[in-house]
């Protein structure tokens, strides 16, 4: 050390102040470089995030509206095939599709051949009869009258109106025929085409027709699964964390357990799915595709996160609190339940919510227990078959229909909103209950 400084002195003719200044300059430069690298890392990360949000919003926002077509429908009892009957049962099984087709043929009398009639009827969704069924069930008086309905358009029409597919006639490869495009233009000129909020997306289950497909079934499935996950993993996780942190003796057994818990947090989630298949389905005989089993599997995934976060939160409570309570004669259990746990709660809750957010996004483990499935009915209990939100994203992304592209992005937006809400909850909880020493 002294040798080197002598070396500098002997070979350097600059004054000490000059040397200090040049060192300072180098140190400042290093700091600026580090700042620049850090800043550019942030910029890159933000660019990727922005790009992701931009493409998803760009693709998905249009799915929140749906094209409707205005049609005057004559609700004659003959066409409905119900004769003089007006019972609820007769109304439920009446031929609403036939009535809609008839109304479309009347709207476009030029369509005469069978093929043309098929094309005319193809402009309206095969699920448009739901609107009629609802209207007649609410008011059977309408039978025999002519009413104006806004009916759900077919997904090919929807795509053309939204500008995703070409509306130029005479082109090869159009999903709509030239005639259909002509009829559509005619309808539009009469003000018979509109885009409305896509309420179907938020109220119905899955469907193979993009215009009828909804997220509600998978939202309910996700909520059921997460409730089960919370009910299982929170008490188990907190109890484990408290025992390991406050009560367990420090020996090689507890060390081993700790290492294992940390390892468990890094196990690929599909492994938990296989475990769920073997234990919950094959051994315990629980139903396939049920949110109950999904929730239990997700609870296993959440558990290590909650334990690790819980232990960190317990550790952060100052020992003085424990000592003061013990000094006043509180038992070990009283110290924990009355003093340490309430103070550690914000940290534990934050960890729990982050673990749950992780569980919300999982699909791989659910594949093994049959939750990656086409399920139309909305689940009424955690025992009914059900999908979850990320599974719906996966299934729609794989569907050939063009209209599912925007709906996939819409489903991702809904999933992201869920995640953002949960993370916001974590932040608010922390802010509200956090204490500083």
């Amino acid at each position: 050390m002294t040798e080197s400084t002598q070396l500098i002195r002997s070979s350097d003719t600059r004054t000490a102040a000059q040397i200090a200044a040049s060192h300072l300059k180098r140190r400042h430069a290093a700091e600026r470089r580090f700042k620049a690298i850090g800043l550019s890392a942030v910029v890159v990360a933000m660019t990727f995030l922005g790009l992701l949000l931009f493409t998803i919003l760009g693709n998905g926002l249009s799915a929140f509206t749906q094209t409707y077509v205005k049609l005057d429908v004559t609700l004659s009892p003959e066409l409905l095939g119900i004769g003089e009957q007006r019972t609820a049962e007769a109304l439920a099984t009446a031929d609403y599709g036939g009535v809609i087709k008839d109304a479309m043929y009347k709207r476009f009398p030029a369509a005469q051949s069978r093929a043309e009639k098929r094309e005319v009827a193809g402009l309206i969704s095969s699920g448009a009869d739901m609107a009629l069924r609802k209207a007649l069930a609410a008011n059977p008086e309408l039978i025999g009258t002519t009413q104006t309905f806004w009916l759900v358009a077919d997904d090919t029409v929807d795509m053309a109106i939204k500008g995703y597919t070409s509306r130029q006639t005479g082109q090869e490869g159009n999903r709509l025929s030239d005639k259909q495009l002509g009829w559509l233009a005619e309808l539009e000129a009469d003000g018979g085409v509109t885009r409305r909020f896509n309420s179907i997306l938020f109220s119905s289950g899955d469907s193979r027709e993009p215009e009828l497909a909804g997220l509600w079934g998978s939202v309910v499935g996700s909520v059921f699964s997460l409730l089960i996950t919370l009910a299982v993993s929170f008490p188990l996780g907190v109890a484990t964390a408290i025992y390991l942190e406050e009560f367990a003796p420090k020996n090689k057994w507890t060390d081993l357990i700790e290492v294992n818990i940390n390892n468990l947090a890094a196990v690929p989630s599909v492994v938990f799915g296989l475990l769920g298949l073997a234990v919950f389905l094959n051994f315990l005989g629980m139903p396939r595709s049920a949110p109950l089993v999904g929730g239990l599997v997700l609870a296993l995934i959440c558990l290590p996160t909650i334990i690790i976060a819980g232990r960190a939160a317990l550790k952060a409570v100052p020992p003085s609190i424990r000592e003061a309570a013990a000094g006043l004669g509180a038992s070990k259990l009283q110290v924990v339940t009355d003093h340490v746990l309430p103070l550690a709660m914000p940290g534990i809750l934050t960890g729990t919510i982050l673990g749950m957010a992780h569980a919300l996004g999982e699909t791989a483990p659910l594949l093994m227990i049959g939750m990656v499935a086409f399920i139309v009915d909305i689940p009424a209990s955690p025992l009914d078959p059900s999908a979850v939100l990320p599974v719906q994203v996966y299934l729609w992304a794989d569907s050939p229909e063009r209209a599912f592209v925007e709906r996939t992005s819409a489903a991702i937006i809904v999933l992201l909103i869920f995640l953002a809400a949960m993370n916001l909850g974590a932040i608010l909880l922390r802010k509200k209950f956090e204490r500083r020493w």
Partner: protein, 343 residues
């Protein structure tokens, strides 16, 4: 407060677990091929809309995985039907029989073509299966022996092909589409190759040489998602993609099907069997479950009705290529009579 919720939760879970084990099923369950999934789900949805029965649950597990689940036993814990993008194998029939699944009803539902396509921005291509074999095999016959595939440009194989880099985007080996592609295109092309015949390989070596796809970048595994392949083709006009016919039909404004052995992939050429790369698709039903699980017979009747699998039925809108009239009729009587599978 926390102790109370914990206790309530524990009791609730215990109760649910106990009832869960003792539950009978009133809903049809289908597993199997992801290729048949779009068709079976469409039928399931229509069937559920009828209102008499619950909508069947359809899982997409792949043909092989579906067979395994289907053949594992009889009872409400096992699926009632399975989708398959190929015929059931005799080994699978044996496995079924071993687990008590003796009577199986076979249902051929129609055909699916495997299309090769490129972006509309490029020229349409006319392939023969021999071209595709030479372009995609790992080793090709040259000068009386197998050598690592030397071709990098299409026109090195045949001057009639475009002067573009060989770049084929297709499904990974886990996909049923890849199995069919190997079987029909690679093996088909291999058999028609005169140099290959001259090599006089034994069966095993022949099959290996035919079915092994190159790994030097000529064939790009683009994942199971066919939509992704369509998007990549749109962005890269020089590339050729491999996927199911229904994706070609849905995206006909962006991509065009290539001719194979002079035949274009269209609805009619696949239905008539002229298009060389098409396969039959099947659904298998467990006879022991008919009458136990409500609605299986009715579900089969819905599947085989003209409004579903007919020429203008809703399945054809989803991309299924129906069988010809006589074949449909024959199968419909067989299926609705619950005739046993004959290998």
């Amino acid at each position: 407060m926390i102790r109370k919720t914990m206790a309530v939760a524990a009791v609730a879970i215990a109760a649910v677990a106990v009832t869960g084990t003792a539950q009978a099923r009133d809903q049809i369950r289908v597993v199997g091929s992801s290729t048949v999934y779009p068709f079976t789900t469409a039928v399931a949805e229509q069937f559920g809309k009828g209102g008499k029965f619950k909508t069947p649950v359809v899982e997409s597990t792949g043909t092989g995985g579906g067979m395994k689940l289907f053949c594992s036993g009889v009872g409400p814990d096992f699926p009632d039907l399975t989708n398959a993008s190929r015929r059931i194998k005799s080994s699978e029939v044996e496995f079924c029989a071993k687990n008590g699944v003796a009577d199986i009803v076979e249902m051929k539902i129609g055909y699916d073509g495997i299309a090769l396509a490129n972006s509309k921005k490029a020229k349409r291509v006319h392939f023969t299966r021999n071209h595709l074999f030479l372009a995609l095999a790992k080793d090709v016959p040259q000068g009386g022996k197998l050598v690592p595939n030397p071709y990098t440009m299409w026109n090195q194989i045949d001057p009639s092909l475009p002067a573009a880099k060989i770049e084929v985007l297709g499904p990974p080996p886990t996909s049923g589409t890849r199995d069919s592609f190997n079987e029909m295109v690679m093996e088909g092309g291999c058999k028609s190759n005169a140099d290959m015949k001259a090599l006089n390989l034994d069966d095993k070596a022949h099959a290996k040489a035919c079915m092994t796809i190159r790994e030097d970048g000529g064939y790009v595994e683009a994942g199971e998602n066919d939509n992704l392949i369509v998007q990549k083709l749109d962005a890269n006009p020089a590339a050729v993609g491999v996927f199911g016919y229904s994706y070609l039909e849905q995206n006909a404004d962006k991509i065009q099907g290539s001719f194979i052995d002079g035949i274009e992939p269209t609805f009619d050429t696949i239905a008539s069997g002229k298009y060389p790369v098409s396969r039959a698709m099947f659904v298998y039903a467990k006879k022991a479950h008919v009458g136990q699980i409500p609605g299986i017979k009715e579900f089969l009747a819905e599947y085989t009705s003209e409004k579903a699998w007919g020429k203008t039925g809703y399945l054809s809108d989803k991309g299924l290529v129906p069988m010809v009239d006589a074949e449909r009729k024959e199968w419909a009587t067989k299926i609705n009579g619950l005739e046993n599978l004959k290998m």
